[in-house]
């Protein structure tokens, strides 16, 4: 998909399907199609590809994402959340009780975020794994570009060595050239999910 093109879930699924293992993908989207993109991607990987998905959320709580996915009848049994936002919002009680959710106290604790991803990867028995980072823009609110860039480099290199797919989400309206450069440096592919369809 090219920038400015209308969002097409099937086309996005098709582009994602073609990615080889150990790929790092920068998935750029508009605020308007954020939920559609997440739905399309998780449906493809976690359900159709039967792949364990580790979903790092720093944008909205894992509870909120789960509710959306369940409302859309998307099976969440293969999705494991690393939730960096619920604790800081002081709303972590219910998430703590869920074995599919691991909490990180704050999005500034980037090392702990990597450790939780590592833990879930080791725990997973699935042959193929996907790690979704939602989103680079949310992490950029809490971290400076130097540390964020170092974090991305170490995280993506580590995932690549484990042959895991990495998808880094970024929201066009909230991005800056520095953030785009940072993501492009570690990713092999850039997919633009386009604008909300008619």
């Amino acid at each position: 998909m090219s920038p400015g093109e209308a969002f097409n879930a099937q086309k996005l699924a098709s582009e994602l399907s073609e990615m080889p293992p150990a790929s790092a993908i920068s998935l750029q989207m508009s605020v308007d199609n954020y939920l559609d993109v997440i739905r399309g991607m998780l449906d493809l990987y976690a359900n159709r590809k039967e792949m364990d998905t580790i979903y790092v959320t720093a944008t909205i709580s894992s509870e909120a994402i789960k509710r959306v996915l369940e409302a859309l009848d998307i099976d969440t049994s293969r999705i494991y959340f690393v939730d960096c936002i619920s604790h800081i919002m002081m709303g972590a009680t219910s998430a703590q009780l869920d074995e599919h959710t691991t909490l990180v106290e704050s999005p500034t604790m980037l090392e702990n975020l990597m450790l939780k991803v590592e833990y879930l990867i080791r725990r997973s028995e699935s042959k193929d794994k996907l790690v979704v980072l939602d989103s680079i823009n949310s992490l950029a609110i809490h971290n400076n570009n130097w540390i964020l860039s170092e974090f991305l480099h170490i995280l993506v290199s580590g995932l690549r060595s484990r042959e895991a797919y990495t998808v880094i989400l970024s929201v066009e309206e909230h991005s800056t050239p520095e953030i785009n450069n940072m993501v492009n440096l570690v990713c092999d592919h850039v997919i633009n999910a386009g604008k909300q369809g008619e």
């Binding site: 500034t108 833990y119 725990r123």
Partner: protein, 249 residues
């Protein structure tokens, strides 16, 4: 792990990140001081070192000084790889040092030089009897409180290290330091004697408290001297490099 010629045989800790930091593990028969303030994960790491040893059929001995070993086992992280059969089979043995003191008639608050020799011999004999290839004393600082003087502490650590090393046993002495301390040991003597020092700490960065690990020295191997952040998980101790970008600390 196969050894290159001339290289010391390694005691692979089984803690993946730590073995990477140590270029393959602790040189076999070394005595290590694993030191840090409370809540930094020293006991968990030491115990995992023993469990991995026992899983590889290396008899492992935990000498508990501060905490009753039964209580220790109930409080420890439920490692997914931990099999209680290791204890039943005698591969992993727990001994409470206060019971050993009692049996050896060491009831006074301060041990004499003769009693120190007796204690070292008793631990050495036990390790020999069990055929222990890995041993942990948790904590050496609590033993030091019964030794009082620098001379006695030096004697105890040197002799214990020698007895265990002669048996090809790799040992980890857990040390405790106050949170505010910049030293590696409470008495200032313990840190000078072992073959290696692993420092565990709590590091505050912009209000976040991170658990860190750093290998200060390790005789017989190259090693990283960088600081790593660790997490205690049911899959064991996990380590990642400390991020430095933008940090002023």
């Amino acid at each position: 792990m196969p050894q290159k010629s001339g290289e010391r045989e390694r005691c692979v800790t089984g803690i993946e990140g730590l073995d990477t930091i140590l270029y393959g593990g602790i040189p076999r028969a070394n005595t290590i001081l694993l030191t840090g303030s409370c809540g930094t994960g020293k006991t968990s790491l030491a115990l995992e070192f023993l469990i991995h040893g026992a899983m590889k059929n290396e008899n492992s001995l935990f000498v508990s000084v501060t905490e009753n070993s039964e209580k220790l086992l109930t409080n420890i992280i439920p490692y997914r790889f931990f099999d209680k059969g290791l204890i039943k089979s005698g591969r992993l043995v727990f001994v409470d040092l206060p019971i050993m003191y009692e049996r050896l008639g060491m009831t006074k608050p301060e041990l004499s030089m003769e009693e120190i020799d007796l204690l070292v011999a008793a631990i050495g004999s036990l390790a020999k009897e069990l055929g222990a290839k890995r041993l942990v004393v948790d904590s050496i600082t609590s033993v030091c409180y019964k030794l009082k003087t620098s001379e006695k502490i030096r004697d105890f650590i040197l002799n214990l290290g020698k007895v265990l090393s002669d048996q090809n046993c790799t040992s980890v002495l857990v040390g405790e330091v106050p949170a505010t301390s910049t030293a590696y040991s409470s008495f200032g003597v313990e840190e000078a004697l072992p073959d290696g020092i692993i420092l565990m700490a709590n590091m505050e960065r912009r209000g976040d408290l991170l658990r860190t690990l750093q290998v200060i020295k390790m005789r017989g191997t190259m090693h990283s001297r960088a600081k790593y952040v660790l997490d205690l998980t049911p899959m064991g101790v996990l380590l990642v490099p400390l991020l430095k970008g933008g940090s002023t600390g």
